[in-house]
């Protein structure tokens, strides 16, 4: 079994044993019905008392062959409205960048918590899309409106 499979099984075990409230994360199923540990879907709840509250934002997590030496890729749906999310949905976060702060010891739990943190505290230094970044910097009212609209779209039941 390859290196990443053992680690990913362990991540799954740890997640099932204990995970932060309001989050979910599970491996996807392949065509033949077996689990594909390299592809996960997960949900990130917006923090209470923020613009992002009362919604769970879906992400996909893709683990590369070289995981855990290389970081997984985390994606929101395409065109997700956030200054640090690329138009393709890929999240721009330093702990997910192998040239920056990725370390093999970072766990799934730390990743999803990191993404949750990012939601309400965008990083000015690394804008990844124009509409959200521009609104965030220039027109805060518009930014808040858009974020709230998006929160409604992903509102938790």
């Amino acid at each position: 079994m390859s290196l990443n499979q053992i680690r990913l099984q362990e991540e799954r075990k740890q997640w099932r044993k204990d995970h932060p409230f309001g989050f979910y994360a599970k491996p996807m199923k392949t065509a033949d019905g077996s689990l594909d540990l390299r592809q996960w879907t997960a949900g990130i709840p917006g923090k209470q008392n923020t613009l992002w509250a009362n919604a769970v934002y879906p992400i996909t997590i893709e683990f590369p062959e070289e995981y855990p030496s290389k970081p997984p890729k985390v994606r929101f749906p395409a065109n997700f409205f956030h200054p640090n999310v690329y138009p393709s949905g890929t999240v721009c976060l330093s702990i997910l960048n192998e040239e920056q702060d990725w370390r093999p010891a970072i766990t799934l739990k730390q990743i999803v918590l990191g993404v949750q943190d990012l939601l309400d505290t965008p990083n000015d230094e690394s804008p990844a899309q124009e509409p959200a970044y521009r609104a965030y910097k220039k027109d805060r009212a518009l930014y808040e409106k858009k974020v709230k609209e998006q929160a409604k779209k992903y509102a938790s039941a």
Partner: protein, 557 residues
């Protein structure tokens, strides 16, 4: 480039100028053939061939540069600084600490010194070195270990930890370091938010153990100059500074460092866009003696100026010639306009796409030809115009193909030559070892030195020849262009002669290869001399004639 970069090389530049005035200076200004290193890399670790620190090479046109490879650079530049600090001012620090500090400070030893005496603890913290406690890095073998990163349960494995005590298995550290090397910077503990830096010698140890277990007992890293961290750091440094350029030759880890008028030559060349002054082309060599242009980072492309090279390469890569070919050799279907190439004799064409039947001669509906086929031979003026246009593009295509074919043939021949020469090289080496083993009279290395020289002459000759076809393609018509082509022929012939001698040596029909080499010694020497002088004549002639306006590049082409 920052100012402090140039500071380091101050002393060399001045030394250099002194040397230039003295007759003892051993590189003539047009001495691009002067040899500093042997073609074979192995010889370059003998002390005699090492670069003297105070002597820069002078390229074809007075460019001052140092030829390097990564190992020499580490040895002469980086480790020299380490020695200076370790044996002089900072004897209190360990080698590991010094190396990390130097790397963090971009190998500016003065900055290390300043920061050290200014605030030692701050510097240590910035470098990820333990403050107030001794370095407690451990690499040890333990039993029954389960690693948090790979989640593997080992019955026995090596584990590594820094002063912080965060322990992970050696395999995880190995792949983590291997990945981080791509960034070229200091590498910290695997634990997120832990800032301790992994020292150089620990990297060597980790790599050694993993290589030993995975690749069968061979210690792979012998000395400091092969330390993966130092190599990665050096590469990152070379990539990031403008005065260094990698050798463009395949699989070569050599590079050149431009000294002296870095800004002058680079700026003036790129600003003088369509200059015909090829005396400014900064040709340098790497440590493996490959010649290349520091400006456009192509192989030595004399007699062509850089902008012609760019134009030519673009043309060769472009589809423009494909378009010309289609225009010259196909006709559009009169109904659907798909391009059709006629591949048979019959002029009754049926379009594959729209099934339209037409006549290839007059492009009218074939139905009109039922009764009198030849009615389409009536002369029409507009058609003539169409034909003329076709002829023009056909001619231009043929012209391009003529030069491109020759350019490409020599390019391929260079590869073929390289193969033959590599064979000869191995052969001579084996033969000499054989003789030594038998205790017979040794064929001295000097006796065989004419070989690498001849090989280099062949390669460089062919390279120059190759680029003369690019040159000739853009050349405007004149009597001097004809003279140039004459010189080109001379060079061509000599190069082929030389290549043939090499081929003969390696020919299957010839069992005594070494005998043949010795027999052809004079011939090889003479031919390589001739190649060199004809090459120089061609290039110098082109340079002079371009200067005087006797040769020019045709902008229409």
């Amino acid at each position: 480039m920052s100012d402090d970069d140039s500071d380091i090389f101050f002393e060399y530049e001045y030394d250099q100028e002194d040397d230039l005035d003295e007759s003892s200076f051993c590189f003539s200004s047009d001495g691009e053939d002067d040899v500093m290193f042997d073609v074979d890399g192995e010889n370059s670790d003998t002390p005699q061939t090492k670069i003297s620190d105070t002597l820069a090479n002078v390229g074809a046109n007075g460019t001052l540069y140092y030829p390097w490879n990564v190992e020499q650079f580490i040895e002469n530049k980086l480790l020299a600084k380490l020695d200076k600090l370790a044996n002089g001012t900072l004897t209190a620090c360990s080698i590991d600490e010094l190396l990390i500090m130097l790397q963090v400070k971009g190998w500016q030893e003065d900055e290390v010194l300043n920061d050290y005496f200014d605030n030692r603890d701050k510097l240590y913290e910035a470098c990820g070195l333990p403050v107030g406690v001794p370095m407690r890095n451990t690499l040890k073998k333990i039993k029954n270990y389960s690693c948090f990163v790979c989640c593997e349960d080992y019955s026995e494995t090596y584990v590594y930890s820094l002063t912080c005590g965060h322990t992970y298995c050696i395999n995880c550290y190995y792949s983590y370091i291997s990945n981080e090397l791509a960034n070229g910077g200091p590498i910290t503990c695997i634990e997120p938010d832990c800032k301790y830096t992994i020292p150089y010698r620990d990297v060597t140890d980790i790599f050694d153990i993993v290589n030993k277990t995975n690749h069968g007992g061979v210690t792979t890293i012998k000395s400091m100059v092969e330390n993966p961290l130092l190599v990665a750091n050096t590469k990152a440094m070379i990539n990031s500074k403008r005065k260094y350029k990698w050798c463009p030759a395949t699989d070569c880890n050599g590079f050149a460092e431009l000294v002296g008028n870095v800004n002058d030559s680079v700026e003036s060349l790129s600003s003088a866009k369509e200059s015909v002054d090829i005396s400014k082309v900064p040709i340098v060599t790497c440590s493996e003696n490959h010649e290349f242009c520091f400006d456009c980072n192509y192989e030595n492309h004399l007699p062509c100026p850089c902008w012609i090279v760019k134009k030519w390469i673009k043309k060769c890569n472009d589809d423009s010639e494909t378009a010309n070919w289609i225009d010259a050799n196909t006709h559009g279907c009169p109904q659907c306009q798909s391009a059709i190439e006629k591949n048979g004799g019959c002029n009754h064409m049926t379009c594959k796409k729209c099934k339209f039947e037409f006549c290839w001669i007059c492009f009218e509906d074939w139905k009109k030809h039922r009764n009198d086929y030849y009615s389409c031979n009536k002369y029409r003026n507009e058609r003539q115009e169409d034909e003329q246009r076709k002829n023009r593009s056909k001619q231009s295509l043929e012209r391009y193909l003529h030069f491109y074919k020759r350019f490409a043939i020599h390019e391929n021949s260079m590869k073929g030559d390289l193969k033959t020469m590599a064979q000869i090289d191995t052969y001579t080496r084996l033969y000499m070892e054989d003789l030594r083993d038998q205790g017979k009279k040794n064929l001295s290395w000097n006796d065989i030195q004419f070989l690498p020289t001849a090989m280099r002459a062949l390669q460089n000759g062919r390279k120059a020849l190759k680029w003369t076809y690019c040159f000739a393609y853009y050349l405007g018509k004149s009597n001097f262009a004809t003279i140039f082509e004459g010189n080109q022929d001379f060079l061509n012939k000599t190069v082929e002669d030389l290549s043939e001698v090499f081929e003969q040596i390696m020919s299957k029909k010839n069992p005594d290869k070494v005998g043949m080499i010795l027999k052809n010694k004079t011939k090889l020497r003479n031919l390589s001399e001739l190649v060199n002088s004809r090459k120089n004549m061609l290039i110098n002639g082109a340079r002079a004639n371009l200067d005087d306006g006797l040769l020019w590049f045709d902008n229409e082409i």
